[in-house]
Point group: C3
Chain length 421, copies 3
């Protein structure tokens, strides 16, 4: 029978499925101080521009080839003349202990909100700390994914190069800037009877990274990857929190905690991430060890009663299915049909401190009020109102130590129109 | 039953279909005066280069998600290292009154020839006036599409941002350069008995637009979108008719008329479009209101007897199906099979006047003799011989008022090899 | 019946299939002399950078339209922000004498190793002579492909433009730099009984080319396409063998011979290619006719007993199917299943001489030891260890005649992780 199975497998052809998503953003910078203007444009009187962006125009082809292997190619055309790769990998599935091993461009396992798909997250942009300490998430690496048979525990661990190759597909350099990453997640409470409307998920993750602190001052082509930065929870031109590339950096380590409690229509989620960095004194910087950290907590509630499902095998959230779609149609029998869709409201508090010793990367917080109006399980509109404050920032616009940091307040209103298939 | 329908709908998965097209062009600039050489290259002795271009290498994925929503992603790789987006939208169909509402990058409803697909148009490039007054047609906007139950009337109306974001996918700027657009089309005569071989289509369309006449002279990132320009019905490097970005422009309005009469194998089509622009006196320009206008008329005849079908729900032309495909094959029984395909001949007269007051955008005409040899319903070769004259042009190469315009004659021969699927 | 067939054909819709491949490379430059460093970076002390590259992220859509026509669109996203076209064509199949005629971007028929798919070749990169004398292989052209009924003979012949338009999709220039190409291949011995485990393939190919030897020194936009160059069998930044664009070139002619003997698991393959170029004395160069040439021979053996199949209709190699896939899975019945995949070892000797008269393009050789570990018929990992020597090189970094050439030795170790579907 074993032989027969394999003979059958050999006869099979590769298989594929096609998916995609369109996310269209409208961001309005309602209010910004001179300090914020400087962080955005370098000019204190040039405020952030309002904008309409295709945030994602993503096509994906994924599938299997006969003999327990799989592949995925995901290209994002949000900027059509300069496309980006997202997941691009090949690998083995059905390995012992429910494991899958992937080689290629894939997400580093730091930050629940980054591991969640952008299709499913309840706020438009990812939290300050999650985006800062795992910028753009995906890197070239090799990673093992697995879970136990009861699905109560799942894990990921692997090695990744640190340079982001999403636009050019190539890592060049004699110094291998790389890190070891791991994440262990559990869902100790999961209410099977209600179909998963109640659960508690928690996880711990960490990394060890070696960086090339002299960057492009030597002959190797490595850029110094010890840089931590993020936009203000909206699609600004510049990153307002930004340490710059930290000269003289040798290594950094990360530790991250996740907690997600779901009780029916209500979810309360928080994460906290710390990064410790060791460096030498170079270029006028004092060489002291650095500690950056941040986190967030949010509550989200479905007025229409739906819930956010948990995928227990990966430790991430899954697609929300409205009880009723939004629609307005003429019925065959003459009447007019209406549906309202689903509605959720949420509030998130973000904190991020990238200022330590003589590095003034920014220390601040933000509050985000968010609403999701689900038209269908595959489409929705998001509204996010963000207000925040940043202090002691500006390192990202300077190659030398700053005498003083830049401060400023901001408020931003954004809308995202989303469909995926 | 209603509940059952919706229950079924919820079980359904998103669906997609894939389409595409390849258009390969060969353009030969047979003859050009010194004035034309200047408009093309800036150098009166450097004549336009002959060329082979992939005009379109377009892939499209479109479909529906459960709950009367739809999406479309269309990317053109004619310049593979710098792709463009075409239609990229999401929306609702089956709305009351046979309506569909789309949000995203889509065609503005000005000019029949632009609303027709490039797969179906009988001349290789679009008429001077249609391309000038609706350059590249697609913009980011929200538009409603509908028709009455008898399909004798159809309409489109919506709002669009004026900047063309096809290459970068993003609109940046604190000034919302935008317009309101509408088109009402009718087919008062449509001969059902002959399967639509006889019909008359007419339409009126218009727009109101607000533009940022100071362009990049202030801090906002808006470019001044009051610019009207077009190539000479062929793929030259430069636009020979070109008003440049009209400094001090505030608003412009458009009015367009369409007429298409089809009697069996013969079709006679014409359009006329006017644009009125209001401006302030800035930068040496006199600030007088401007009127630009143009139109075309063509006759096209199928020697092999086919006809151009009308899509009455959208007010555009549809795919021509040859009575016999072109082929040359060995038969199983030893003989050799031959088919000739379909053949049409057409003649188009174009007129366009972009010179008014102190703006010398060019005033001229062109004659196009065109032949279409259909290999199959999905493939054909087009030949276009164009001869024309342009006077009082050159504004597009100058930021200040010109003392005198540039004149010139030209003739161009082009071939296009086309397939779509 | 003929009429019925055609009526059926007309009812049919276009069809498509989707394919793709991911090739991920890791190249390590183990050793390089100062001369090699200069050829790579222009700086004798800046050695080649180690690297991880996505070598290919290719998506393909191909199919037919009703009425014996076909199309293919192949885009490579290995550098996502700057994609390339590969095959992009339309054409006719089922022509008399088993012929297919294609118009568009397609491979020029010089060099067996270039006509073989990168999915199937046994060494990671193509031989020096094959890549040099048919750089990147694909050009815009029209080509006929056919074979006799017994499949013992096949042929290709056509005309091609010489400029590589893979990144911009457009050929511009009043001078048509073009060539006529042909290849005649035969498989006089093919052992049907063993399913093609034994065969002998041989072929002769040639070309006549006209080039624009004044390049961009005149007003036409043609680049001088008389340039022959290649990387060192690995993905270096620069081409180490490089004649530069040969000033004053008028024409060049090519002659190529192929021989491939397969006896079960063993294959012995060799090719030899000559190029003769005629030129005028311009810019300090002496104008003497030039002769460049090179070739290779390799032996490859499957330790696990598989063989490389021959596609007799195209004269190229086909997909290797491992007797057993590589896998490690838990069985339902509790045991653990293992498979080893297939393994081949090969050795290739390359020779290339691009130094003649006053052109110092490089004269050298390389040895490549290669291993292929096939995980499945659709995936494998390749390891290549390359060592070589180059003399009298450097013309590619100079626009004037060199007083002396550059010499150097090198060794390189590379790995490629591959999947296709």
């Amino acid at each position: 029978e074993k032989l027969k199975d394999e003979a059958d497998a050999k006869k099979k052809k590769p298989e594929f499925k096609i998916n995609g998503r369109v996310h269209l953003d409208n961001w309005n910078f309602l209010d910004s101080d001179a300090g914020i203007n400087f962080l955005e444009s370098g000019n204190p009187v040039d405020d952030p521009e309002n904008r309409w962006d295709f945030r994602r125009i993503r096509l994906e082809i994924a599938g299997t080839v006969p003999g327990n292997m799989l592949y995925r190619i995901q290209i994002d055309f949000n900027n059509p003349s300069s496309a980006e790769m997202k997941d691009v990998y090949l690998g083995f599935n059905n390995l012992p202990n429910n494991q899958t091993f992937l080689i290629g461009n894939q997400k580093r396992p730091i930050g629940l909100d980054h591991l969640n798909s952008s299709r499913h997250n309840v706020f438009a942009e990812r939290p300050l700390a999650v985006e800062t300490f795992n910028e753009d998430a995906r890197r070239l690496g090799a990673c093992m994914y697995g879970h136990n048979d009861s699905e109560s525990i799942n894990w990921r661990y692997g090695g990744f190069l640190l340079e982001n190759i999403s636009t050019d597909g190539r890592y060049r350099g004699d110094f291998h800037e790389a890190g070891l990453y791991g994440r262990l997640a559990a869902s100790p409470w999961y209410d099977e009877i209600s179909g998963g409307r109640g659960y508690y998920h928690c996880a711990v993750a960490g990394s060890f990274n070696a960086v090339d602190g002299d960057g492009t001052t030597d002959l190797d082509q490595n850029s110094n990857e010890s840089r931590f930065r993020t936009r203000p929870l909206a699609r600004s031109d510049s990153r307002w929190w930004d340490t710059g590339r930290i000269l003289g950096a040798n290594n950094y380590e990360q530790l991250a905690f996740e907690s997600m409690l779901n009780i029916g229509a209500l979810q309360i989620t928080g994460e906290y991430i710390s990064t410790w960095l060791q460096r030498d004194a170079v270029g006028g910087f004092n060489g002291e060890d650095l500690h950056f950290h941040g986190g967030y907590i949010f509550a989200n509630y479905y007025l229409t009663g739906e819930h956010v499902p948990l995928d227990r095998t990966s430790g991430t959230i899954d697609r929300v299915k409205p009880f009723e779609n939004f629609f307005l149609v003429d019925r065959c029998n003459g009447g007019r049909g209406r549906g309202m869709g689903a509605l959720s409201l949420g509030l998130r508090a973000d904190y991020l401190d990238l200022s330590d010793s003589d590095i003034r990367g920014g220390d601040g917080y933000a509050l985000t009020a968010g609403a999701n109006w689900y038209w269908t399980a595959y489409s929705k509109v998001q509204a996010n109102l963000i207000t925040g404050e940043i202090n002691n920032a500006g390192q990202g616009r300077s190659a030398v130590p700053l005498a003083a940091g830049v401060d400023g307040d901001f408020s931003i209103l954004g809308f995202r129109y989303m469909i995926d298939f």
